[in-house]
Symmetry: C2
DNA sequence: ATATTTTTTTAGATGTACCTAAACATTACT
DNA sequence: AGTAATGTTTAGGTACATCTAAAAAAATAT
């Protein structure tokens, strides 16, 4: 049985390695988990001993198969709870993260199975992120960063890259939600900002914002 | 901010002191929390320092007002989650305890406020125990142990004293649920067991069972 | 009222998850 | 290639929540 701290490490490694492909450095984990590099070294030694990661000194860590599976289960729980909070408890999409960070550590396979059923087996969370199934399988639709779209390109917002509350509130303000249609009117060479048609409105968004909006046709 | 362990101590003290009236001994806490007396002494010193309990060496502990309020909030969360599990996630009343033990420690006043609303502001949990309101206020209906009822007395099951899974499964088996009408047909002097009419059936229940069933008219 | 038993507390250890400071490896820069 | 900068690990220490064994206090029994 893994502790909350251990589970958080596995989740962080999963995210930082983009799904378990690349190795993750000690410092990037320390940053991500808001802790110190020395603490990370301590913990990854323990996780390596438990066989959930592969660790070679000075070379960073990789999730093992079992570690990846644990990480995906935590992500599954996190996202299912987010759906519950938004769909049933009137939470806004910028309010769910903190609470889901706690709920994701509740240990009860039955609970998650039943919650999934209760929610109608959702495939995506309120930020458009895919929810892994019981076996940890992800169904990822092709999606592009809005920042990479060409002038004239059209699409629909399917997800956001950042679940930061301030960012999501800004999106609410400009009327950008999952499902909102977008069209690139113009790209500003100077700072990479975009002029876009969002629903019925035409506005400018910074490069940073457009990097964090994911669209598909 | 209190840790899970600290919260569990406060909850245990609340239950063992019957709502904060009598002092609770070190050993009874150790028994209840399945830990050792020495560990309890350590912890109650810390809780006393945090002003959530009153502690005098060798005299047992009492909840302070703030400690009582914390305990009631945890009990509120526990019972609301139990309602959710039974009403919405198809859990049976003997399956909810363990999961609710985890869920009660989630820290988010908004979550509990919204959950309460979602559930329709329930007053009792699946075992018939009253749910404290936001201010920790309990509405307790008068209720008697079935074991204390007199021959010929009639009533309705309103709660159970023990949430032990085996006991609840037994109640399911004999058809005893919250709301089931009961009538005392006869009391057996010898072992204190009862002959009762439960719904439409007439059966015998042991003294131990009847002690754990609460009825009201 | 004294001795015995029970209960509670203290003393000293352990494992977890952190920390700082210092040592060591790797990478980047003239 | 040699040095400086950056990244990582080790060493040693802290707070938390637990433990065992022993000492001390309170309750019980003779």
């Amino acid at each position: 049985m893994l502790s909350f701290a251990e589970e958080n490490y596995l989740k962080a490694i999963y995210h930082l390695s983009e799904g378990g492909s690349e190795p993750v450095s000690t410092n990037s984990l320390a940053d991500n988990l808001e802790t110190k590099a020395a603490s990370v070294t301590d913990m990854i030694k323990k996780l390596a001993q438990k066989q959930v990661i592969d660790y070679k000194k000075y070379y960073g860590v990789n999730l093992s198969d079992s570690g990846k599976s644990v990480a995906l289960q935590i992500i599954r729980k996190h996202r299912l709870w987010e759906v519950f909070l938004v769909n049933n408890l009137e939470f806004k999409w910028d309010e769910v993260h903190e609470v889901a960070e706690q709920l994701e550590h509740i240990k009860s396979p039955l609970l998650i199975q039943r919650l999934d059923k209760f929610l109608g087996f959702p495939k995506y969370d309120p930020h458009g992120d895919p929810i892994p199934d019981e076996n940890g399988k992800l169904t990822t639709k092709p999606r592009t960063e809005l920042a990479l779209a060409k002038k004239g390109q059209q699409g629909v917002i399917v997800a956001v890259n950042d679940s930061n509350s301030a960012f999501l509130k800004y999106l609410d303000k400009i009327g950008a939600r999952i499902g909102t249609p977008v069209e690139v009117i113009d790209k500003v060479e100077f700072d990479g900002s975009l002029e876009i048609k969002l629903g019925e409105k035409v506005i400018f968004v910074s490069k940073e914002v457009s990097t964090n909006i994911l669209i598909s046709e």
